[in-house]
Each structure stands twice: as structure tokens, then as C-alpha cells.
């Protein structure tokens, strides 16, 4: 039960606490083990602003090379009451990142008795990605996430896209990542510029319909993106973040949405 004050420590930093307990996040770059194989990113996840907040959605398929391994993978992960992370890349690394972030934000909030700022949350994920570069360039742990949150201080939702080195880019309208994303990024841009309304002015139901259709389109062209299969109770993951926090659509809602939105 020792508590030492240290000028170099950062109060409320769970990552530092993990370090003190012997945990180590990823290894350093080992040039000898660099190789040329491409990292599989069998995924489509997307996020865009709509009238009341942001929507984050993803397909459910996990692949290894040409094999479909799993059709119920959750790629949109709750981090705290106001934040979600959508993942593309190596699941093991991405899930662990999400677990660290969850504990980091909650540990900060409870120990410092205030929520971490939106900017602080965004930088925390940057830091994890930066420290993961070694694994990423060795072809073992590349992750390309989308982070969406509602900033309680500015009272605005925010979407951030990250590259594998940890650089973050604030997204004003829409973003998508994963192997199926090239197919739908053009559609999102088209919808935003020439659709019936800009994305940021659309209603929640309109935004959900668009997200489900985009994922279905991505699955049409990308074998590593899973289709919605209501008959088998396989639905995409769809969540929204508003000033009240995040909310995931449940299976019943998604059954109804798929029934109407996927009809030709």
C-alpha cells in the first residue's frame, strides 16, 4: 500500500499504472523481423455526422487470408459512455487497445473526479498507435481505427480517423476504413454533395438506412466484408452518439431497418 509522489508521473494515467505493475504495451521495432506481407484488413467500418450526432457502423465478418473465420465480430466497441472506437486491422491488437482505453478513461474519471477532455481521449489513442508502430511495420499488429466521441466541454460530437503511426485527423463529414472502404467512400462523398440533403442535416433514421445500405454495398464488392443476413440473425453493428451518450441499435430494430432499407 505504498503511494509515491513522482514529478514525472501523470496523475490518473492508467497506462502508467499498468507499466508499474509489469505490463508492457508492444515491443520496439526489430528491423530483422520486418517483412513484406500485407496486413489483412478484412473489414468495413464507417462514421459520419448526422443532424443529432454521429453514427458509427461496421460489418461483422472476421477473416484470415481467404477464410471466413467468424460472422459475429463486433468492430464497433464502446470505450466510455460517450465514446466508440471502430476498428480495422488486427483484431488482437485492436481489442487490447480498446480495453486499455476503456480502463484509461474510467480510471482518469474516477481518480481525478472529472472526465478526460475530448482532446485528451483523442491523444490517448494516438499514443497507443504510436507505441504500436513496431508491431505494425513487422506486419503483426497494424490497426487503423476510427474514434467517435461526444465532447462534454464543447458540447459537440467529433469523429477522428487515425493512420497506423498515430496521426489523427478530425473528420468534418464522413470517413470509412478497412478493405471495403474504397467502395463506399465515393458514395458517401456523392451523398454528402449531391444527395437529397448533406449528411450532417439528415435525420437519425435516414442516417441509419444509409449506413446499412453502404455496408451491404461494400460487402457486394469486398469478400472480407460480411453482408447483413437477417434470416441468420446476422446484422451489421450500428451505433449513434448524441449528447446523451452512445446507443447501439438492438437486433429487433436492425431486423426492421434491414427489412425496409435493403428492399429494392
Amino acid at each position: 500500500m505504498s503511494f509515491q509522489s513522482n514529478a514525472q508521473s501523470s496523475p490518473g494515467d492508467f497506462f502508467e499504472l499498468l507499466g508499474r505493475s509489469g505490463y508492457r504495451w508492444q515491443t520496439r521495432v526489430d528491423p530483422q523481423t520486418q517483412n513484406d506481407f500485407a496486413v489483412t484488413q478484412g473489414t468495413t467500418v464507417l462514421a459520419f455526422h448526422f443532424k443529432d450526432g454521429v453514427i458509427v457502423a461496421g460489418d461483422r465478418r472476421a477473416t484470415a487470408g481467404n477464410s471466413i473465420m467468424y460472422e459475429h465480430c463486433d468492430k464497433v466497441i464502446p470505450i466510455d459512455d460517450y465514446s466508440l472506437m471502430a476498428i480495422a486491422g488486427v483484431p488482437a491488437t485492436a481489442f487490447e487497445m480498446a480495453r486499455i482505453l476503456t480502463h484509461n478513461f474510467e480510471f482518469f474519471r474516477r481518480s481525478q473526479m472529472q472526465s478526460m477532455s475530448g482532446e485528451g481521449k483523442i491523444r490517448t489513442l494516438s499514443k497507443l498507435l504510436k507505441e504500436n508502430v513496431g508491431m505494425a511495420i513487422q506486419g503483426l499488429g497494424a490497426v487503423s481505427p476510427i474514434f467517435a466521441t461526444y465532447d462534454l466541454q464543447s458540447k459537440k460530437p467529433a469523429i477522428h480517423f487515425y493512420d497506423m503511426l498515430g496521426a489523427d485527423f478530425q473528420i468534418r463529414t464522413h470517413t470509412a476504413t478497412g478493405s471495403g472502404s474504397p467502395t463506399i467512400r465515393g458514395i458517401l462523398e456523392h451523398e454528402d454533395l449531391w444527395g437529397e440533403k448533406p449528411l450532417a442535416e439528415r435525420s437519425e433514421s435516414n442516417a441509419v438506412t444509409l449506413a446499412v445500405r453502404l455496408l451491404q454495398t461494400a460487402a457486394q464488392f469486398d469478400s472480407a466484408t460480411g453482408k447483413a443476413r437477417p434470416d441468420d440473425e446476422i446484422f451489421p453493428t450500428v451505433a449513434i452518439i448524441t449528447e446523451e451518450g452512445y446507443r447501439f441499435m438492438d437486433d429487433k430494430e436492425l431486423t426492421d431497418i434491414c427489412k425496409t432499407s435493403l428492399r429494392r
Binding site: M1, F3, F14, L17, L18, D81, H103, E106, F107, R110
Partner: protein
């Protein structure tokens, strides 16, 4: 000193007297069940008596603020490391107490060269079936478990009196508003029990009006109705305002 057992026992006994004397002015922190969860509440001249520890665990403390803070951080670190390394379901209050702070507190108290912790803590947990468990732990590592609610206070006489009253009331059937009103009533009654004991707390509020005017009412609850993982929330200004108008 160590070659004579009597000297060691005398030193430990002196430490008990010293800590109890320092704790005397500690104001009661109540924790009681209500129909949707658990309430934890207390009046104090400054905030900093009630805290969230983990998803379903809350803490109340009386004593030296720096000691309460040190134990709060220890509990937070233990809970979050366990939740990260295993699962949130493995973070239970019984484990945190029994294998965490209780042995450490006892050891610290009996190592007579070290400064003792001047604290009394109340810990409460609401499990997934909405059953509450209340714990009270002393500065020497001794802890007790309660089913119907509990209280900590600087004076043992007051603590025992309130504990008896809590047991006699069906708090688990009360709404939040009713539970808050009853706790306030117990607080006023407990002040009457103190009368004439000659302690140096003459300037402390004796009525609810004085308490609301001069001190803070700090309160939080663990709600069994919340679907999120973390079920702790502080009382809102509206809830405190409503209480003030109903009992003031």
C-alpha cells in the same frame, strides 16, 4: 520496547486512543438501500467524503482527508488493474477488502513506528442481481459486513446509535426521496444524542436548516435501473433541492 510484550500492547492501545481522539469530529456518512439501489450520503463542511471506486462500488470516508485519499487511490488502482487483467466481474468488494486494504491497514497500525491511518471507511457494492452489501472498515483493518445499510462516524457512540436505527427502518422499500428524508431525520436525531458530551463541536450545525446553510450535502447512488456498466452517479441539484424543500 520489543523485548517486553506489555510495552508493545501499551503502544498499540495508545494508538487506538490517539486515532479515536482524532476521529471524534468526523461527521456521519450513511449508506442505505432504497427500492432502486443504494444511497450513500453525508453532510460535511467540505466536499470529499463520497467517491466512485469501480463500476458497482462506492466509498465513503471520515477522518484525515489525505489518508482517505491514499486509501481511495489504493482501492482504485487495485480495482482497475484487476478489471483490466481479468474482468470487471472479478472486481468485488469482498476481495478488495479481504485481500487488499484490510491486511495492509492492520499491518500498518501494528507497526508502531509508522503513522497510523486516521480513517473509518464505508464501502458499498450493488451486485448484478441488485443485492447490496455494506462494509465498514476501521483504521486498524477490522471490518464488518451489513445487509440493511450502515453508517460511519467519528464517535462510536453515535455510529452505534444510528446503526440500530437503520436496522429498524425498512429502507429497501423506500423511494429515493423517502430514503433521503429518513436519513436526514436520523442525522438530526443523532445530533441530539451528542448533546452534553462536552466535545469541541459547539459551532457545528445542529438542525437541517443550519446544515444546509453552512455545509454541503454530498450524496451519490448506485442505481440498479441503469443499463450501463458503471452504475454510480452523484445526486443532482434538483434531487437535493427537492429534499431541502421537503425537510427544511
Amino acid at each position: 520496547m520489543f523485548e517486553e510484550p506489555y510495552r508493545w500492547m501499551e503502544a498499540v492501545s495508545n494508538r487506538h486512543s490517539y486515532v479515536q481522539e482524532r476521529l471524534k469530529l468526523g461527521q456521519p456518512v450513511f449508506s442505505v438501500p432504497f427500492d432502486e439501489g443504494v444511497l450513500i450520503v453525508g453532510f460535511a463542511p467540505q466536499r470529499g467524503k463520497i467517491f466512485e471506486i469501480y463500476d458497482r462500488i462506492a466509498l465513503g470516508g471520515v477522518g484525515h482527508p489525505a489518508d482517505v485519499e491514499r486509501l481511495r487511490m489504493t482501492l482504485l488502482e487495485m480495482a482497475h488493474l484487476e478489471g483490466f487483467n481479468r474482468s470487471a466481474q472479478d472486481v468485488t468488494l469482498a476481495r478488495l477488502l479481504q485481500f487488499g486494504i484490510a491486511p495492509a491497514l492492520k499491518q500498518n497500525f501494528e507497526e508502531i513506528q509508522r503513522a497510523p491511518y486516521i480513517i473509518r471507511l464505508l464501502l458499498v457494492e450493488l451486485d448484478r442481481e441488485c443485492n447490496p452489501t455494506f462494509f465498514r472498515i476501521n483504521y486498524d483493518g477490522h471490518w464488518e459486513t451489513f445487509k440493511d445499510g450502515t453508517v460511519i462516524a467519528g464517535k462510536e457512540k453515535i455510529m452505534d446509535w444510528i446503526q440500530k436505527e437503520i436496522r429498524a427502518l425498512p429502507f429497501a422499500t423506500f423511494t429515493l426521496d423517502k430514503a433521503l428524508e429518513e436519513v436526514c431525520r436520523l442525522w438530526v436525531e443523532s445530533k441530539k444524542q451528542e448533546d452534553g458530551d462536552g466535545d469541541d463541536d459547539k459551532d457545528f450545525p445542529k438542525t437541517l436548516k443550519e446544515a444546509f446553510d453552512q455545509w454541503y450535502l454530498e450524496g451519490a447512488l448506485l442505481s440498479g435501473k441503469v443499463e450501463r456498466r458503471a452504475i454510480y452517479r452523484t445526486l443532482t441539484e434538483e434531487e437535493i433541492g427537492k429534499l431541502k424543500s421537503s425537510v427544511g
